[in-house]
C-alpha cells in the first residue's frame, strides 16, 4: 500500500488517489507513418518490465489530476523519487548497480 509523493501537491498521498499508467518515458515514434511494423509494435506493446529499478508513470487521479514519473523498486516497492514529466530520473538501475 504505497504512499506516493506527488510532486505537484508537494506531499505524500495514499495510493488509492493515484492510477498507475505503466512504463514512463515511452516515446511515440516521431514519424509514425514511416515507422516499421516492428517499431510500431514495440512502441505499442513491448516493455522493459524490469525486476528492480523501474521508471513509471502515475497520475494523481483523485488529487491534482497531474501525471508524473516515479522511480520505484519493483521488488522492495520502495519509491526512490518522483519527478515531473519532462525531467529525467536521478536514480537509475546503472547507478544502483555501482557500489554506493
Amino acid at each position: 500500500m504505497f504512499l506516493i509523493y506527488c510532486p505537484y501537491c508537494g506531499e505524500e498521498r495514499e495510493e488509492s488517489e493515484f492510477h498507475a499508467k505503466g512504463q514512463a518515458h515511452l516515446a511515440r515514434p516521431a514519424d509514425p507513418d514511416n515507422s516499421s511494423d516492428e517499431e510500431w509494435g514495440h512502441y505499442l506493446f513491448f516493455r522493459e518490465n524490469p525486476r528492480g529499478i523501474h521508471h513509471e508513470l502515475w497520475v494523481h487521479a483523485a488529487g491534482c489530476r497531474k501525471f508524473f514519473n516515479v522511480t520505484r523498486h519493483t521488488v522492495s516497492y520502495e519509491i526512490l523519487e518522483t519527478y515531473p514529466i519532462g525531467e529525467q530520473p536521478r536514480v537509475t538501475a546503472n547507478q544502483m548497480e555501482k557500489p554506493a
Binding site: A20, G22, D37, E38, W40, F45, E48, N49
Partner: protein, 416 residues
C-alpha cells in the same frame, strides 16, 4: 517409479512408511542436455514430462531457481475451465481440459481435479451479451457451456444472494459443468515425479542468470551453478519471463503485476461449485480442506514482490460479502500474491524467438493454471520439432507486430 495406490498405502503403513522413495532425485547438473527447460512451475514440469513421454527426449533438465512449483503454481486459485471466447484460445484450453480429465491416472498421482462446475456471473445487460456470445462460441467449438438465468443460478448455488435489491443483481451466468478446480501442488509434484522417473533432471535452487548465444543460436545457459549447455532452451518462467528474456537480449510484450488471493479459515462444506463475477469482482470456491479460496484483482503497477496492495483485498472481500452476505462472519486466514505476466491481449505467448533454439512459453497472466497440461503438451511438441505446434501458432510473439491479437479481455469474464 514407485506406483501409488490405496493398496500400496496400506503396505507402506505396515512398514511404518519407512520405505517410501523420493518423488524425484536431486541430481548434480550435467555439462549439457538435449533440452533445457527454464522454470520448474507446472508448465515447465509438464513440458519436460511430455518431452520425455511423447517425444522420447529424456536428456532434459528443468532449471528452477527456487523450489519446484513455488511460483504462480503455488499461489493460484486453481480454477480450471475452457470456456474462452476466441477459437484459438478455446482450442488450446479445451485441449488442456481434456488432458486434465485423465491426468491423475496418467501421472499416477491424484491431482484432485474436481469437475464441480464453474459459474461466470453476469450483472449487467452488457455482461449478459458477452456471456451469450461466449457460450454460443463455446458450443460451436464443442465446449460444454450454457447460459443460465438468475433462477437457475440460485438453484445451483442457493447461498448466493440473487435478490434484485443488490447493488448489482445477478442477471444470469455462464455455466461450464466440466470445469472445476484441482490441487495445485499435486499437479507440480505429479509432473515432476513422472518426469524424473523418465530421466529428466530436476535442478532446484538453480537460477538462470545468463544466456549464451553464438551466431544467433542458443548454446546454453549460465546459472548460479555454472554453465549448462543445450541447443534447445524453453523458458517457462511466468512472472519472470521479461527478466530471462533480457538475458538473451530480447524484449517481450509483457508486464509483471502482483495478483493476490486469500483463504478463509476452514469451514464445513458450504459451497459446491466455483463462482466467479467479473463485474462485482470476486471469485470463490471451497477447497477440499474446507477453506474458501478467493481470488482478488490485479494491482495496477508492475511488481515482483509477490504481494500487492491492501485495497485490492478489501475490495475483493466487499464483493464476496455482497454476493454471499452469509460469509460476513467467516474470517480471512491468509492472503498472498503471485507475479503474473500479463499480455496486452490477455492471451499467452508460445513462440519461437529471434534466437534459434530459444523458445518462450509465457504471458499466461492471471489464468494459466488451467492450461498446465495443455501448455506443456503443446510446448513439448514445439521444442521437439523446432517449430510451433498448430495450436500454438496463433500465439506467436509476432502477433504483436502484425496486429493479429486474440483479445480475450472482458470477453472471457474474469481472467482466471
Amino acid at each position: 517409479m514407485q506406483r501409488y495406490s490405496g493398496f500400496g498405502l496400506a503396505r507402506h503403513a505396515l512398514s511404518h512408511h519407512e520405505n517410501w522413495q523420493r518423488m524425484w532425485r536431486n541430481p548434480t547438473p550435467k555439462k549439457a542436455y538435449d533440452a533445457i527447460i527454464v522454470g520448474g512451475g507446472g508448465h515447465g514440469l509438464a513440458t519436460a514430462y511430455y518431452l520425455a513421454k511423447e517425444h522420447g527426449i529424456t536428456n532434459v533438465a528443468v532449471l528452477e531457481k527456487g523450489w519446484l512449483g513455488g511460483g504462480n503454481t503455488a499461489r493460484n486459485t486453481t480454477i480450471v475451465r475452457s470456456n474462452y471466447l476466441w477459437d484459438e484460445a478455446a482450442a488450446l484450453y479445451e485441449h488442456s481440459l481434456k488432458l486434465w480429465e485423465g491426468l491423475s491416472q496418467d501421472l499416477n498421482c491424484n491431482v484432485m481435479f474436481s469437475q464441480r462446475g464453474v459459474l461466470n456471473l453476469g450483472h449487467t445487460l452488457q455482461d449478459m451479451r458477452d456471456i451469450q456470445r461466449r457460450v454460443h462460441a463455446n458450443r460451436l467449438n464443442g465446449i460444454d457451456s450454457q447460459v443460465l438465468d438468475a433462477q437457475q443460478v440460485k438453484e445451483i448455488v442457493p447461498i448466493l444472494d440473487c435478490s434484485s435489491d443488490r447493488r448489482y443483481p445477478v442477471m444470469g451466468a455462464s455455466w461450464q459443468p466440466r470445469a472445476g478446480v484441482a490441487r495445485h501442488d499435486a499437479v507440480a509434484w505429479g509432473f515432476a515425479r513422472a518426469a524424473d522417473a523418465m530421466g529428466v533432471d530436476l535442478l532446484q535452487q538453480t537460477e538462470v542468470n545468463g544466456m549464451r548465444i553464438e551466431d544467433g543460436q542458443i548454446v546454453g545457459v549460465e546459472t548460479n551453478r555454472g554453465f549448462i549447455g543445450a541447443k534447445t532452451v524453453g523458458c517457462v518462467t511466468a512472472g519472470n519471463s521479461s527478466v530471462v528474456a533480457k538475458q538473451a537480449g530480447l524484449l517481450l510484450p509483457l508486464e509483471s503485476h502482483p495478483l493476490q488471493a486469500l483463504v478463509s479459515e476452514p469451514l464445513k462444506p458450504i459451497l459446491d461449485t466455483v463462482v466467479m463475477s467479473n463485474h462485482v469482482h470476486g471469485y470463490i470456491s471451497q477447497s477440499d480442506k474446507g477453506d474458501l479460496v478467493i481470488g482478488a484483482g490485479i494491482d495496477g503497477y508492475n511488481g515482483y514482490g509477490q504481494r500487492g496492495s491492501y485495497p485490492t483485498i478489501e475490495h475483493t472481500l466487499q464483493a464476496i460479502v455482497e454476493m454471499f452476505p452469509i460469509f460476513s462472519r467467516v474470517r480471512m486466514n491468509r492472503q498472498w500474491g503471485g507475479i503474473v505476466d500479463t499480455c496486452p491481449d490477455a492471451c499467452p505467448i508460445l513462440s519461437e524467438t529471434d534466437v534459434k533454439g530459444l523458445f518462450f512459453n509465457c504471458g499466461w497472466g492471471t489464468g494459466g493454471f488451467k492450461a498446465t497440461p495443455g501448455s506443456g503438451h503443446v510446448f513439448a511438441w514445439t521444442l521437439a520439432k523446432g517449430h510451433a505446434h498448430p495450436l500454438a501458432k496463433p500465439f506467436s510473439i509476432n502477433r504483436f507486430v502484425t496486429g493479429q491479437l486474440i483479445d480475450e479481455h472482458g470477453a472471457a469474464g474474469v481472467a482466471h
